[in-house]
Amino acid sequence: MFASILVNGLVNSVILILTALGFSLTFGLSRVANFAVGGLYLFAGFAAWIFLRILGLPYAVAILLAIILTGILGAIIYQVLLVRVRGIELSEVIATFAVGVAILETFRWAGFVTYEFNLPSFFKGRLEILGTVIDYQRLIVIGVGLFLAVALWWFTHHTKIGLGLRGIAQDEHTALTLGIESDWAAMLSVAIGSALTAVAAVVILPLGIISINVGYEVLLLAIAVSVLGGLESTVGLVIAGLILGYAQVLTANFLGPQWMLVVYLAAIVTVLAVRPSGLLGRFKEIEERV
């Protein structure tokens, strides 16, 4: 029982962290809170489904195309909607939120609502860890999560574009004087974040079916992570992911799986009531002083 909670909680946490990674990265690099994540997540899932099932492309190609296309969609959302309201946070939130809901409701309207919408696992089979059975797809999720963590660190610390993006994130005007274009950087950060959300979608969706509700769950998760973790820091994302991930598994074990979604809402309400600056508000201050 204990071991199963430990293992499942960890797997679940990694799933949540991976799902919110794109959202968090975009915010960290350009201060755009892209609440279209839920829509982008499902867009990636349905795109992969269409490429695979309708067009009959190889699975790997379908996945790759879905990721690229979602990145492009992110760039378009930035260019069409966000460029003009840049820096007006409320407008950014409303605009991205509206796009996300519009994408989700368009799929509902187009009839993407039945059980036939699912993606196959990459490999069939399962494994036993500490007496807990885990299927390969969940291990792949963890592997992809670890790989992306390393890859993103390398990208933001050792490539010219990644360094430039971090410059813009820290001080836009100084970055401008060094030749780093802020508009281009912001568009790129939204596109990369969207593509990361798509990566999460294509590795996580094979665990269940692709349904409109999943999109709303992702949206809720993004809000919960941003309230809990305080957004900017990767540490915040990881801690929020672990808290939510384990809270969900405990809830599912002791209260029943139908209560899992309530965890997000309870976490959001509790944190806002007790510590509106986010759990990490304090940590950040300390970090500043160190």
Partner: protein
């Protein structure tokens, strides 16, 4: 190399620059002196393109607040509508006032970020030159820039502009808030930078510390040019002497 002609800038209805004209020739260090809100930063930001960027971003949001008239020429071409990143590529690099650095990044990372418009090899070579120019920074290279003292941040900020490979370096109040020793260090660096063939336009409120290195100077008040000339000529003007040299 830089020719500013009749440059006027209005923020809303307030006149920040009033028909300002100024030249910087290759290899020169030119001073621009004026007290608070004289318009020094406005001029520097306009030459570097930040004003254009601000104007475009405000217009996008539906405001029409900033008006720019006149000319800014760099090596014969009008650059008033050239975006800041292209100006950097052409060799105009600004070091903004109050030693701006990327606070959460290490010193070394700040310098690497600054090589954005240059190749990797060029950036590496230039970073080494910066450490030669400011040996003090070497032992701080892995420290977060936000933790450096003001003087160290100013050295880093100038170092960052050098990595971007300027041909015209704009220094906005580089001595502000520094101890006399640190001011001496920055002035020495300015001489070194000129030796490398880089022209410098530098603003200050107080002319004395950089007086020994400037070739020519301009004095402005409330956005208007008061007088200009070589260092000696400025010193001969009694009003300028008392206001900007404290004598």
């Amino acid at each position: 190399m830089l020719k500013v002609r009749n440059l006027s800038i209005f923020y809303e209805n307030a006149l920040a620059l009033n028909s300002m004209s100024l030249d910087v020739n290759a290899g020169e260090i030119v001073g621009l002196f004026g007290s608070n809100s004289a318009g020094k930063t406005t001029l520097m930001n306009t030459v570097a393109g930040l004003t254009l960027d601000l104007k475009i971003k405000e217009e996008r949001k539906g405001g029409e607040r900033i008006t720019v008239t006149g000319q800014v020429n760099f090596e014969g071409a009008d650059i008033l509508n050239v975006p800041p990143s292209h100006r950097v590529a052409q060799g105009i690099v600004l070091c903004r006032e109050r030693h701006p650095v990327f606070r959460d990044s290490t010193v070394d990372e700040n310098l690497r970020i600054s090589g954005y418009t240059r190749t990797r090899a060029e950036t590496r070579a230039r970073i080494n030159q910066v450490y030669d120019l400011f040996p003090h920074l070497v032992r701080l290279r892995h420290r977060r820039a936000g933790l450096l003292s003001g003087g160290e941040q100013q050295m880093l900020a100038i170092g960052m502009t050098l990595v971007a490979h300027p041909r015209l370096l704009l220094l906005d109040e580089p001595l502000l808030g520094l101890s006399p020793a640190m001011q001496g260090e920055i002035v020495r660096a300015m001489k070194d930078i000129r030796q490398q063939g880089i022209a410098i336009l530098v603003t200050e409120q107080y002319a004395r510390p950089i007086f020994p290195v400037i070739d020519r100077g301009y004095v402005m008040e409330n956005g208007t040019l008061i007088t200009s000339g070589t260092g000696m000529e400025l010193m001969d003007n009694p009003e300028v002497k008392s206001a900007y040299f404290g004598m």
